[in-house]
């Protein structure tokens, strides 16, 4: 096994489980871990406090039996699996949890968690859905309260310089992840879409310094690697929270290559950097989340930015088709995908709309649809080729 394969395996192990060796080592040293629902809670604040931020997934969940009594048939399966895992004890290792009003499904996680589970630190923040200076100021205040709450609950002090240092560390991760994406823009990328997603997920589940070291080792090896060729089409995936590389693998087993994405576990996590020199680092964190990162569909009035991002990606990554996916019952991404489909097809970009559950299932049907989509792209290529 070459060095790249070894590191990729390590990332794959982290992304395909909840509790991993890095977390264990962290806790063995007395480190604290706080779980975050969705991506609008700034990880940097926790790193600055010496706490490991862990993005909550339901990887490995087999069913929703323990979550279902608290949810409904129309609650998204991420939330149902997450609650089920939490009730099964899979998240007992957490020292805390922070939730926010990401969407109506996820907002209610806090309602249940705070009533039923005994995770020592539990905090809810109200994150604006709109960008702009006024909302950044509101969000900054929320972060100030969260900061004070972390300080008193964990007996730490978070100074501005700690925050700036944390921002630098996380930005370093973003820069390294961006290099991974740059490699994917090549005609023969040295890694698959599934491997890329694994790498990005691992970044939310292990100490950032350790993660950065691994990426620094991985990148030169990848650069020297022979790239993938012979794929049928280069695809982009856009949509709601997707934290399972096996989904990407289904596409790639059929001959497609996922070269880029608009996913909160993917390109969205690394495409913009946070101001490292701001006199007010809390404000910089709030500004990044509301104004600077690629906005999630939860952010209102931002459709043109998201569409613009997709169109830029299509050009930069030489994308042949876009997969607009959404988790079942995710209405905000449904609206987004409805609009993406109209706009992208008007621009001559093939689109596949895919509704899915959190856990991979219905693979046969999914494969049939992907195959048909790939055939459409292939036929389109033939029609447009000069010969």
């Amino acid at each position: 096994m070459d060095e790249a394969a070894e590191i990729l395996l390590q990332f794959s192990q982290v992304s395909s489980s909840i509790y991993n060796l890095s977390l264990k080592r962290w806790q063995d040293r007395g480190g604290k871990i706080v779980g975050l629902v969705c991506s609008y809670v700034p990880e940097e604040l926790f790193t600055a406090a010496g706490i490991l931020p862990f993005r909550l997934r339901a990887t490995g969940s087999l069913d929703t039996s323990q979550g279902d009594p608290y949810a409904g048939a129309f609650t998204c399966s991420y939330v149902r699996h997450l609650l089920s895992m939490a009730f099964s004890g899979a998240y007992d290792f957490l020292d805390g949890i922070v939730c926010f009003n990401s969407c109506d499904h996820a907002r209610r996680v806090y309602d249940i968690w705070s009533r039923k589970l005994t995770t020592p630190f539990q905090h809810y923040i109200s994150v604006p859905h709109k960008g702009g200076a006024d909302q950044v100021a509101v969000y900054r205040k929320e972060l100030e309260v969260l900061k004070k709450s972390l300080e008193s609950s964990f007996g730490v002090s978070i100074h501005d310089e700690d925050l700036r240092q944390a921002i630098r560390v996380h930005n370093q991760a973003r820069r390294l992840q961006k290099i991974i994406y740059d490699l994917k823009a090549q005609e023969s990328p040295p890694l698959s879409g599934a491997e890329t997603l694994s790498i990005l997920i691992a970044g939310t589940a292990m100490p950032k310094e350790e993660y950065n070291l691994l990426l620094k080792k991985l990148i030169p090896v990848l650069k020297a690697r022979t790239g993938t060729s012979g794929y049928i089409a280069r695809l982009m995936v856009a949509g709601s929270c997707l934290d399972n590389p096996a989904y990407i693998q289904v596409f790639e087993e059929l001959g497609a290559l996922i070269v880029t994405d608009l996913l909160c576990f993917g390109a969205d996590a690394c495409w913009s950097l946070i101001d490292e020199t701001s006199a007010d680092p809390l404000e910089a964190l709030a500004r990044y989340q509301l104004d600077e990162r690629i906005p999630c569909a939860r952010m209102v009035g931002q459709y043109p930015r998201r569409l613009g991002f997709i169109k830029d990606m299509v050009k930069t990554f030489n994308v042949n088709g876009v997969v607009c996916e959404r988790m079942k019952f995710c209405d905000i991404w449904a609206a987004e995908n409805l609009l993406f489909k109209r706009s992208l097809q008007e621009s001559g970009i093939p689109v596949l709309s895919l509704e899915r559950e959190y856990m991979l299932g219905n693979v046969g049907q999914m494969k049939t649809r992907i195959q048909a989509f790939l055939e459409t792209i292939t036929e389109g290529k033939k029609c447009h080729s000069p010969g």
Binding site: F329, D331, A334, A335, E336
Partner: protein, 427 residues
């Protein structure tokens, strides 16, 4: 998709047309329509005629998201059309098929079947060119994610200037201050895009009008606490509907009419139902496509003592200054419309209010309808069930879509209610 241009959109030709017919008919047959009901129709007609006049005269008018205070628009002489007005017009005109046609169209262009009909109906109506195109849209991220999804699509379909009113999920003084500023930002946006100006004295007049309406409305609500309840359950629909137009003299007239009727009923010793067996707290959205409250009274001798959309705490707006008015309107916004008041934040706010109102209105059972499309409701229901069990409150969980008769039919809803009431009777 571009909107087909119709000579006269359905909302104006049929929806408003129906209201005019009702008023004309009432004038020819005095007493044929009860006073409060007629006042309600007149209120809606007055609001709709402003829109009609603006459309026909090429003057600016605005589309409005749910829950927003209407006083600033009235003070700026800006006609507004609530985004739910198409649906309410269709219900008023007894044209449920206009709703289902709009829903079918919205779904045919990609709106999911499980998204909220409240926003899907206007999407369908817009796609069919049945709504007049506004000068400005005042959208919002409240009261739930359905608004986010709905306005994003409507914004792209219509392409008019759009302002997103953004309330936090908290309910405290800092939020009130923020909302006053957000209202000012909204007013600035309206001034810029419509050319209309805010006049402080005019705002004061309008707010004083809405304070009057608020006072009357609270007194009517207070009278519902009497056992047996002297007021019909359907009065609640007039209350919640009236609050969509706070600041209009016709709203005050409606609440005055309701107040007059309520006092008269009490003096006469009237009761909502001859033998009040059940006092219901209906604490979610109602069934909008069929008069379920009337059926409850007739079939089960059950009066709805209070419901989620009609309840509101006492909040008067201080008119001493422009700032105090914006702050007061911000506070009222936070605490007025049900979805914003208790559904926008954490469950504890809903639960606390539910328990308090159940006790204040001396209810002996509760219904939680759990509007299907609201994805936050199942979790809320699971908590509510526990709370009701602990407190011995009989609770009927009755999921349906408040606006979409295709999801759960009237018959099914009635059957479920009957099963529940039969069980309660046996206890």
């Amino acid at each position: 998709m571009s909107q087909p241009r119709l000579a006269r959109p359905w909302y104006l030709s049929q929806g408003v047309g129906h209201l005019k017919q009702v008023v004309q008919m009432a004038e020819c047959n005095p007493g044929a329509i009860p006073g409060p009901d007629l006042a309600f129709v007149k209120l809606n007609l007055a609001a709709a005629e402003k829109v009609e006049k603006a459309v026909e005269g090429g003057q600016p008018f605005v589309w409005l998201n749910i829950s927003l205070p209407t006083e600033p628009f009235l003070a700026m002489d800006l006609p507004y059309l609530h985004i739910g007005d198409y649906m309410f017009s269709a219900i008023g005109a007894g044209r449920i098929e206009a709703i289902t046609e709009a829903l079918d169209l919205a779904e045919s262009i990609g709106s999911p079947s499980t998204a909220c009909a409240f926003y899907k109906i206007p999407i369908g109506a817009i796609a069919a060119g049945q709504y007049p195109t506004p000068s400005v849209m005042i959208a919002g991220s409240h009261p739930c994610q359905q608004a986010i999804a709905g306005w994003e699509v409507m914004g792209e379909l219509v392409k008019a200037p759009i302002f997103y009113f953004e309330p936090p999920t908290r309910n405290d003084e800092a939020t009130v201050d923020y909302l006053a500023e957000e209202l000012q930002r909204m007013i600035g946006y309206l001034e810029k895009h419509t050319g209309k100006k805010m006049e402080v004295d005019r705002l004061r007049e309008v707010v004083e009008e809405s304070n009057q309406a608020q006072e009357l409305s609270l007194e009517v609500s207070e009278m519902r606490k009497a056992v047996p309840c002297p007021l019909k359950s359907s009065f609640l629909n007039l209350t919640s509907g009236g609050r969509w137009h706070m600041g209009m003299p016709e709203t005050t007239a409606l609440f005055r009419e309701m107040h007059f009727e309520a006092v008269a009923r009490i003096k006469r010793g009237d009761r909502a139902v001859p033998q009040e067996k059940f006092r219901v707290l209906w604490y979610d959205l109602g069934v909008l496509f069929t008069p379920i409250y009337d059926w409850l009274e007739k079939e089960w001798g059950a009066v709805v003592a209070m419901d989620l959309t009609s309840y509101n705490p006492e909040i008067f707006v201080d008119t001493s200054s422009y700032e105090s008015m914006l702050k007061g309107l911000g506070r009222r916004f936070l605490n007025y419309e049900a979805m914003q008041r208790v559904n926008h934040g954490l469950a504890v706010r809903f639960i606390d209010e539910f328990v308090r109102v159940y006790s204040d209105y001396k209810c002996n059972l509760a219904v939680y309808s759990g509007h299907y499309a609201d994805k936050g409701r199942p979790v809320l229901l699971s908590i509510l069930k526990e709370v009701c069990r602990e407190r011995g409150i009989p609770l009927l969980a009755l999921p349906f879509d408040s606006f979409d008769p295709r999801v759960v039919s009237e018959k099914h809803i009635q059957d479920k209610i009957s099963q529940f009431f039969s069980t309660i009777e046996l206890l």
